[in-house]
Symmetry: C2
Subunit: 158 residues, 2 copies
Amino acid sequence: MGAGVEWAAHCCLLLDWLGNDEAVSTARLAAGFEIPPAYLNKQLQALVRAGILTSVPGARGGFRLDRPLRKITLMDVVAAIEGPDEAFECTEIRQRGPGVDTPKRLFRRPCAVDAAMRSAELQWRRALAARTLADLRDTVDRSAPDLGEQLRDWYVHN
Amino acid sequence: MGAGVEWAAHCCLLLDWLGNDEAVSTARLAAGFEIPPAYLNKQLQALVRAGILTSVPGARGGFRLDRPLRKITLMDVVAAIEGPDEAFECTEIRQRGPGVDTPKRLFRRPCAVDAAMRSAELQWRRALAARTLADLRDTVDRSAPDLGEQLRDWYVHN
DNA sequence: GTCGAATTACTCGGATATATAATGTCCGAGTCGGGCAGG
DNA sequence: CCTGCCCGACTCGGACATTATATATCCGAGTAATTCGAC
């Protein structure tokens, strides 16, 4: 899985901690995490296309959350960055080759390997969809209540 | 996820259907699935390293199941091909950058994003580990009882 | 006809190319804020 | 002093390199079967 997923999740959390009143530019976000700004910009664009963030062009522009963290799941973030395709893709290998010259009567049922893989991946997706970014923020806030304020303080001066 | 996972799973099932009395060469397996033989060989080597198959060198050589399908889970196959690493890898991005100059007191707890990702991936692994290849074989056998015999017939002549 | 050794054909195993995707960089279009001239 | 316009700086957005990974290929080491000859 690409590193952009981690970047995107932490950026969304940070945008919430900083308050959603004004947009934050790619440069400042990247400086806060010490990651390549232009590449981060690319990931943020993906979040915009997915409807998670909104982009404000021009000077003093940047990105802002399009909906509260409560309505953004980890699944949304992963899907936005990694794309909608499933990790395992069945190519119907069982039907290929001259091994079975019988008609496709035997292959009406879906491929058993594919079914098992899809089932497992569905569990994964369910778990991701069950966790909203608000849950994560609250978890962090409980273990470090003053983190948000410290972040705001630093970003004010940068 | 690489295509090798699909190949490996189907090859294991096929080896069982053909009976495990004699080894089957890479060339014959690849011919049955219409996939590049040399590349399939690479994946099978990974299965050997993982202890799922045993390789028989020399003429009339090939591969054979090292244990019954009942003792091989889909998780074993995936781990053998894709490697043992987790898909999501936390780089502790939260601690990077000058944004937080406080000591690491705030970061004793594990990263919340990482925890959620690991939890979801654990669900995925559990689901894969719960399905043995014997389960899949039985599923196919129920929907197509004579598939195994047809496969044996064809492979006898090739 | 039987035994035995050299030969041959075949297979795995890993080292080596190529294609594809992930990562990283760069420049142009657009927009806001501030400066500046005019009234 | 106030207003409106122009200029400059800043930012997103997508097009363009670079690196890593997955895919595909090739050749050597080794083994079993086969063949050939001698007894």
